[in-house]
């Protein structure tokens, strides 16, 4: 079954410094505060070793559904500004995507603009629109956490 190649970019401007926004991705304790595209979860497991060659694991289990397991490797990091990560996503045992994630943060006015780009290989009926939607929910959550002063 052929795979599909897709590509999307999302942007947000947050009322926080670039360093704080970047730390939301690079510091495990901060990432845990916002990282989820689900409203309720049976369990969450997050591992984060933020360095070139380091790995990330996010295992999110919604009630009554299979776990979404994201495994990533960091390939490029410019501290405070940018990182590029290759990651796979599995639903249970099934591979549903292989992607590159680029996150760039820069100052804008009093806050920070975040630009997220995903370039992905999508498998068997799992499509880009779902990924884009889930990612957008995550970035909105990050905005809520920042606005609530919880980052």
């Amino acid at each position: 079954m052929p795979v599909q190649h897709g590509h999307f970019t999302l942007e947000r401007v947050y009322p926080a410094s670039p360093a704080r926004v970047f730390a939301a991705f690079s510091v495990k304790e901060k990432k845990q505060r916002w990282f989820s595209c689900f409203d309720d979860l049976e369990s969450v497991e997050i591992e984060l070793d933020f360095r070139v060659g380091g790995h990330e694991l996010n295992r999110l289990k919604p009630p009554g559904a299979v776990a979404h397991v994201m495994r990533g490797t960091f390939h490029d990091i410019v501290p405070g500004e940018r990182f590029v990560e290759a990651f796979t996503m599995h639903l249970g045992e099934r591979l549903i995507s292989v992607s590159l994630l680029t996150v760039e943060v820069r100052a804008e006015g009093e806050g920070a603009r975040l630009t997220l780009t995903e370039q992905g290989v999508f498998y068997d009926g799992y499509d880009q629109a779902e990924r884009e939607e889930g990612t957008a929910v995550g970035l909105d959550r990050l905005g809520e956490i920042i606005a609530a002063g919880l980052l």
Partner: protein
């Protein structure tokens, strides 16, 4: 001080090889067969390291040096392997020790008459103006031509 930038690009290259799918699969999946075509130009490039461990999570490396002194390193990790049909991998390129790109490569093989179609798709992040998709595509076209020539050798 490096001027930071990223360029996100996708390119796709197709070849129709006059060989059976199993031979083309071997050319991209067997370390000895791959080493016949996956390398720098032999008249100006010396390979210093070449290895391939084809399994999910396995690595591939090609490192070497041009006569000019410039060093290159290709480092890949395999993420999806479908025997005879498909490879998906992430790879980085370094020139003189500086990382110039991070990319996903997809190779898909399908039979066509008695021949084999190979489609290569690269989705790349080209870093800090140090390389372009156009240059990467050109280099890749040459490699896939070399793959074709290797199929007609013993």
């Amino acid at each position: 001080m490096t001027k930071r930038s990223t360029s996100h690009d996708t390119f796709r290259i197709e070849r129709l090889y006059d060989a059976a799918p199993a031979r083309v699969w071997r050319a991209i999946s067997d370390p000895a067969a791959k080493a016949k075509w996956f390398r720098g130009p032999p008249d100006v490039y010396t390979t210093t390291e070449q290895s391939m461990d084809l399994r999910v999570g396995g690595r591939e490396r090609l490192a070497g040096r041009f006569d000019s002194g410039m060093t290159t390193a290709y480092d890949a990790t395999f993420h999806d392997i479908v025997e005879g049909e498909r490879l998906v991998y992430a790879y980085t390129m370094h020139l003189d020790g500086t990382q110039i790109s991070v990319s996903l490569g997809t190779m898909e093989i399908t039979p066509e008459g008695g021949r084999t179609r190979l489609v290569y798709t690269e989705q790349g992040v080209f870093l800090d103006g140090l390389d372009t998709a156009a240059q990467r595509q050109e280099g890749t076209e040459q490699l896939l031509d070399a793959l074709g020539r290797s199929l007609s050798e013993a």
